[in-house]
């Protein structure tokens, strides 16, 4: 299992692109690996025959686990050991059963990161859906004992999910204090629904799992506050109608409201830089770069790829970037860097007709802003009633980082910019 990012510790085999017995060329796509929200195609590090698959589709294994064996073509298969180890794909010289080239760590059952778990521990962990890697043991040499798992399960603690980079803060200090033996990573104490005879049970995809974990993480760790402003975008709408044909011809992409709002958000951040921040536990990290996450709905669920340094892009550049990200998302071609390092998120909830949304913040960001549907409304202009195009802007803020006043001033700036088109 290759490491698909610095902090990635495990990966799920999404799909095998070759069957055992099939020939494979070097660098030919061998399998799809899902980590976090990304599915990556892994090219074969060797040319030869795929002899056996050791990790089935849907299984999640630690980085470094051997996932398959490839018998290399040609007898002189004496590659440097390092390449085999680094790729964690075991090669096997055709004539010998023992691999002479591979020093890749072999993952025996019950062994993860060099830690051994007893059968009882593994069984209990499975039953209680506890991630053992987050449990500290009371056995000899820190071994996790069956009792440790039982105690952790009984504590019913909800604990941080895996991505320590994204969720920099251990937000469950209180829980950890009441569960000294260890804190399970995924042991939410959910109200479990039971399926009836006529119900359909849908297996969780890796992506669904990640979304579920992050949403629980976000709402349980971040004190959300919310505000909304109404922007009169009549003039913007007219401007857009005038410009969009030429824009499309010139830039090759549609001129939608999304890049326009992203641009306004970036400019408003320049005026209120605190909005572009993250909670750091005992401090606030104000980000230099403005990397705007764009919420995109794809078949499997929600993804939030990032437009890096969005403030340095022109409107055309933003439209281009967003268009490319949408395209990649739809084709499941997003990579981990595409998803990393967002500092604020813009969500085009209006695309589906919403006029009011209360989104959940994407941790460790401090704010998420929505652009709602543009709707014609009776509107008071100069003490007369006019028909105007109105767009609602909703902002959710991390109240640890931001107060309502600064958030409202920021939102007011965005509104003002959108209303300044002529």
């Amino acid at each position: 299992m290759p490491q698909l990012g610095e902090t990635v510790t495990e990966g799920t085999v999404g799909r095998w692109l070759k069957k055992p017995g099939e020939l494979i060329a070097k660098y030919e796509p061998l399998l799809e690996v899902e980590t976090d929200k990304v599915a990556s195609e892994i090219p074969s590090p060797f040319g030869g025959t795929l002899t056996s698959i050791m990790v089935e589709e849907g299984q999640t294994v630690a980085v470094g686990t051997i996932v398959c064996e490839i018998a290399e073509t040609g007898a002189a298969a004496l590659k440097p050991a390092m390449s085999a180890a680094a790729s964690a794909v075991q090669t096997q010289a055709p004539s010998s059963t023992q691999s002479s080239t591979s020093t890749a760590p072999r993952s025996a059952a019950g062994v993860a990161n060099g830690v051994r778990y007893s059968p009882a521990v593994r069984k209990l962990a499975r039953e209680h859906q506890i991630d053992l890697s987050n449990l500290s043991g009371t056995g000899r040499g820190g071994r996790v004992t069956a009792r440790d798992v039982t105690v952790a399960a009984q504590s019913g603690a909800v604990a941080p999910t895996s991505d320590t980079r994204t969720f920099a803060q251990p937000v469950h200090a209180a829980t950890a204090a009441t569960a000294p033996i260890g804190v399970p990573r995924q042991a939410h104490a959910p109200i479990e629904a039971h399926a009836g005879d006529e119900d359909t049970v849908i297996r969780l995809s890796q992506m669904r799992k990640t979304i579920a974990e992050r949403m629980v993480q976000a709402v349980t760790s971040i004190p959300h506050a919310w505000c909304m402003m109404e922007a009169d975008v009549t003039e913007l709408s007219r401007w857009r109608d005038r410009e969009k044909a030429a824009f499309k011809a010139r830039e090759g992409v549609n001129l939608t409201y999304l890049p326009i709002v992203v641009q306004a958000v970036c400019r408003a951040i320049k005026e209120h830089p605190l909005v572009n921040s993250a909670w750091g536990g005992d401090h606030i990290i104000q980000r230099k770069h403005i990397n705007v996450g764009i919420a995109i709905d794809v078949e499997e669920g929600l993804v939030v790829p990032v437009v890096r340094d969005a403030d340095r892009l022109s409107l055309a550049g933003l439209a281009q970037s967003i268009s490319e990200l949408v395209e990649k998302a739809r084709k499941r071609r997003l990579t981990l860097p595409d998803l990393a390092d967002g500092t604020i998120t813009v969500d085009n909830t209006g695309a589906l007709g919403n006029v009011l949304s209360v989104p959940i913040i994407n941790p460790p960001q401090a704010a998420i802003i929505t652009l709602e549907a543009v709707v014609k409304r009776p509107w008071v202009v100069n003490d007369a009633i006019a028909i105007r195009s109105i767009m609602n802007l909703c902002l959710c803020l991390d109240h640890r980082v931001l107060d309502g006043a600064v958030a409202s001033r920021f939102l007011g700036s965005v509104k003002k910019m959108l209303e300044s088109y002529t």
């Binding site: 007893s118 059968p119 009882a120 521990v121 069984k123 056995g139 000899r140 071994r143 069956a146």
Partner: protein
């Protein structure tokens, strides 16, 4: 209930069986006027006569062979092998004849025979009076092997053995004879064969044992309890049939198992216990199965130091328990 030691419980059971059932008779070396080397059959010959309390030559194959014939003819013989160390000449009779009788005759003949023998060390018995023989016999289908550790169990199991229609090897640990006292129910008290006894319930680890070691293990468990380690002690009582259910239940409950027996380790009863747990409760275990047994040396020496080196003691059992609890 009367409090008796284990020897008195055996004596009472034998006496009552002789009095109750005309088919019952005792045969063995020095069981007559001598009253057995431990005085278990003292005064029996006066009460029941030479026909029912038979002194035999020093010929163990004949003792068992004659008993088998009598059993097939409808009697209920109780043969005594003076010390388990002397049983080897009778091995063929026990394993080759008695154990196979019912099977060989397609149920036409049974062999309602009890072979009693004192076994085990810790009494300064040296090479020829200290051996444990259970592993030599427990491999054999058709033979029951009982090893009670308390006076009540001795009575209850001996009564069941006498009433059984097939051969039973009845092992009496000689150190328990006078050391272990307890209440003994009156009358023809019986305990079903093949049922283990939870000598001490506990939650942290299980010790599975039998014979004298039940008492040493319980003693050690009481010691550990002071330190908050709660040990369950399972006394098999019956080596074959073996109570798989209780073994698996206990292993499942505590997830850590220490097997203790005085007999030497290799191929001992503990090997079978470990295999049962591995087969049936593998995924319940939180630690490797451990065995504390006598060493694999040919015999227990006479010197006190040798004997102590051989016998598992409460202290050594306690140390093994602590080690497993800390795993």
């Amino acid at each position: 209930m009367a409090v008796k030691n284990l020897l008195e419980a055996v004596r009472e059971t034998l006496h009552d069986a002789l009095a109750r059932d005309e088919r019952v008779f005792i045969m063995g070396e020095d069981v007559g006027p001598r009253g057995n080397v431990f005085l278990i059959t003292k005064d029996f010959v006066e009460e029941f006569g030479h026909d029912r309390v038979l002194d035999t030559p020093l010929a163990e194959a004949s003792i068992v062979g004659v008993a088998i014939g009598a059993a097939m003819a409808g009697m209920r013989p109780i043969a005594e092998i003076q010390f388990a160390d002397f049983i080897y000449p009778a091995y063929n009779q026990i394993v080759g004849e008695a154990a196979k009788m019912r099977y060989r005759t397609a149920g036409g003949n049974t062999c309602p025979l009890v072979i009693r023998t004192p076994y085990g060390g810790g009494v300064g018995g040296a090479l020829s009076h200290s051996v444990s023989i259970e592993a030599l016999f427990y491999h054999v289908p058709g033979l029951k092997i009982l090893a009670p550790s308390t006076p009540a169990d001795a009575k209850g199991l001996l009564n069941s053995a006498i009433a059984d229609d097939d051969p039973v090897l009845f092992l009496e640990h000689k150190k328990t004879y006078r050391l272990i006292k307890g209440e003994v129910p009156p009358g023809e008290y019986k305990i079903p064969m093949g049922k283990a006894d939870i000598a001490r319930p506990g939650s942290d680890l299980s010790v599975i044992t039998y014979g004298l070691m039940r008492h040493f293990a319980t003693q050690a468990a009481d010691e550990l309890f002071k330190d908050g380690i709660d040990v369950e002690v399972v006394d098999l009582r019956s080596i074959r049939p073996m109570d798989r259910e209780t073994i698996v239940k206990s292993a499942t409950k505590t997830r850590r198992v220490l097997i203790v027996h005085e007999d030497n380790k290799f191929g001992g009863v503990g090997a079978e216990i470990a295999a049962i747990i591995a087969e049936e409760a593998m995924f319940e275990l939180d630690a490797p199965i451990r065995r504390l047994c006598g060493p694999d040396v040919p015999a227990m020496g006479y010197s006190k130091a040798y004997e102590e080196a051989f016998m598992p003691s409460p202290e050594r059992i306690a140390a093994a328990m602590r080690d497993l609890a800390a795993f």
